[in-house]
Symmetry: C3
Subunit: 347 residues, 3 copies
């Protein structure tokens, strides 16, 4: 188990210590769950009262606390501090494989960078280039003529088709599939005729691809995922999509063929965009939303078919009152009938 | 092919034989499809008439039938009988691998119980503990410091990250992923910054995890699936979820981060629960339902956003009449206009 | 990189050359993106104007163009021409593995056809039959007593359970799972009791199964996918389904237990059919649609729960006007109240 002292943590996050700098922690936990030997984080200043009573040995906090009993590491950006500490823990808890295993199958033509790990039973095909510090877990399949950038990690059972290009500092999680066939057919005489897919896949730098996620290769040309984009598990980027930089795709987000996402687009859990749809910079596709066409920059869409969020929420609210609306309508109908049917008053 | 006599079957299910006890069957089939040499089950007493004409050689039935031509095994709980007979067939039809293959990669530090199977090309990492009778199929990846309980089976291409704990009598189906990164990021200056995930995953006893299903490890602390819960294929249990005992999650059921399910909760096909949602004991989340918040014990929810089932069904029914409602509304509007526009009668 | 001359292309597609037959291309691209050295296709005659200005060296076109500067290959059915050319490119770009690797695990009892490839770390179990020209990529698991038809390809990390039957000319894409447990349980005393699944899976000829797709084995009897059906990634065919010939299932299409699809059914992206539903020949289940029951031949269904498409579209349109309808209803209510409340005129 990793152990860090207050001093080490303060250096790691660029913080200032209040209390003894030699106190150590061996684990992290939430404000409420944390106990002796734990590190906790006050991420939301509104929870300061709760933090005062926190039992953690060390607390990273953006503000100095008056009555908290442990050691404080005061650091303006507690979220970034958390990111750094989590990375340090991860490195110690989950040590990476080392070296190229004799039980791996690495074609003699493969270009292997410095400090590369290829674990048992991994397969790397002819002509592929592995950058420095690349880590390949067991049972990974990498086809021919791929390029994998420096410091990129491929976890177990990942499949990478021939000629796929992956940038530097990427994480490809377990059982993900890059470069599988796009889904293209024509129909002739009642039969489906396959359109073979001969394009490629290009993944930028600093991209994360979730477990059991697919990025299909293009029919022609390339399917692209740009730098900094993070894709969760069970997602699908279909053939010829172009996903811009710094996008987020949560679990089961799905892009049909030839979709374009701009910069910083967020596709929430189980959302989808139809064939050839475009979603402009900074737009948010809400959970479960199904986008049939194009979405302007900064828009927030909900529902299926998707509408602007405020409109959709209003519609959902009214749907809850449909039974009353129907009843009211029936009553009115009757009343109007009466009014109309009533012989002209005073007649 | 397995073959069982009426005598063996009666012992297996605790039933009583009517007819010759040496008659044998080699296969199972439905009441209508079954023929000579087959075993069939009358599970629903309302279908007794159909069972009378069944062509199976042996029938397990909760009630004595008057005119059925084959051998009857009378057994009050035909469903439990079916469960037992299916298990016996499965054991014979799908024999488990035996022994630790020299073509597997098992770290010398691994603690291997009695009668364990580790098949060709499986990988078991440093410090992991395999209980008695554990079965590991080819291409399974098990990381470091995992614990796998007695009689648990991991099918081919399953991936298990470091430090995951799996109980006894579990079935982890093909290509499932346990302990992959939870999906956590913060944003700084327009860039996504990863929150490494350093928590764990703990799976109870007697749990089934479907093919291509993911259970992500916690950011800190643990993602938990308790005893007896059965999860189908293509499901997602995100980081820090706590799934209670004896729950059912059907295909594509998805729990976003930090969701809590109580005891015996049912999440039907393609349903989902949002971040931090809680679903209390015995609640049912219907097919395709999307639950935004909390669900009380025993509730039955439908729709997205989900509502109580009766209410949602009523709304769906009325939605079907929206065209008529709109027309009616327009007609009324006109009629009221006429009524209002009409100069006061008798004026 | 493959290179084809106009002459070769004309022979491949059965077309007629206008221009020099020795001009070559090395890549394919879209009408707009194509440049020197590329081949392009005019698939839609309405885009002829655009094709005239296309920069590709060779153009396959169903009609002779007046002012296009490159070499024309005139061929009535440009779509079929595209299918043929893509196949030729794919064969050259993605060469198949050759031979049975000594690093594969092939049981001595396996029947291996002519020209079969079994790559490193692939596993083929006892009693399985591999037809001529079968290609098995690394990390594929094939259990016992399976049959794999001629010219069928299994990509890396595919899992095939015991006794699964796959026809000829099939493509099983990366990390797909065939023959995993159907999801069956009974409940006794608050506990879930598994119904082991002892049936099989039978896949016809010329079927494509997408990456990360599951076809579960039947409880008893067989789960069937008939000839010519194409299934995309992330799909689920549950136990005891029967999928007819020449169907299309797009990404995340899901069939619950015992569903029957007729001939040529299309299930669009993320659609689903409930347990025991039947969908007759030529019906279309639209994107995101959830079909609760039976669908007649040729019907086109949308929405969840699904309705005939025209009806559903009308309902969606009216839903967009619900806020106005509510307002109108309130106004009418008030007006009618006034009308009713007004003391009888002239009284």
């Amino acid at each position: 188990m990793p152990e860090f002292s207050a001093k080490q943590l303060a250096e790691m996050v660029g913080g200032r210590i209040i209390g003894r700098e030699d106190v150590t922690i061996a684990d992290l936990s939430g404000l409420e769950q944390a106990g002796a030997g734990d590190l906790a984080f006050l991420r939301d200043k509104n929870r300061a009262a709760q933090a005062e009573g926190c039992k953690a040995s060390i607390l990273v906090t953006p503000i100095e606390l008056a009555s908290y009993a442990g050691v404080q590491v005061v650091c303006e950006d507690a979220d970034m501090a958390l990111a750094r500490v989590l990375s340090a823990f991860a490195e110690q808890r989950f040590p990476r494989p080392q070296g190229v295993s004799p039980r791996a199958s690495v074609h003699p033509s493969v270009s292997v960078g410095r400090n590369v790990a290829v674990a048992d039973f991994a397969f790397v095909g002819e002509g592929t280039v592995l950058g420095d510090d690349v880590v390949i877990y067991p049972h990974v399949y990498v086809g021919r003529d791929c390029r994998i950038g420096a410091r990129t990690t491929l976890y177990a059972n990942v499949s990478v088709h021939d000629r796929v290009i992956i940038g530097a500092d990427c994480i490809i999680r377990y059982n993900a599939v890059l470069g599988s066939d796009g889904f293209g057919f024509i129909q002739r005489g009642g039969r489906n005729v396959k359109l073979a897919q001969v394009g490629g896949v290009r993944i930028g730098n600093n991209v994360e691809i979730g477990s059991l996620t697919t990025v299909d290769r293009a029919t022609m040309d390339e399917t692209v995922v740009e730098d900094g984009t993070k894709i969760d598990s069970h997602c699908h980027v279909a053939h010829n999509c172009h996903v811009g930089p710094e996008c987020i795709m949560a679990g089961y987000a799905k892009l049909a063929g030839s979709v374009r996402l701009g910069k910083g687009v967020i596709c929430a859990e189980d959302s989808g965009v139809n064939d050839h749809g475009t979603v402009a910079d900074g737009a948010i596709i809400g959970g479960l939303a199904g986008v049939p066409g194009n979405v302007p920059a900064g828009a927030y869409m909900l529902g299926a078919p998707a509408r602007p969020a405020a409109e959709q929420r209003r519609i959902w609210a009214i749907m809850g009152r449909l039974p009353q609306m129907l009843e009211k309508l029936r009553r009115l109908e009757k009343e109007v009938e009466e009014l109309r049917g009533r012989p002209a008053a005073g007649a």
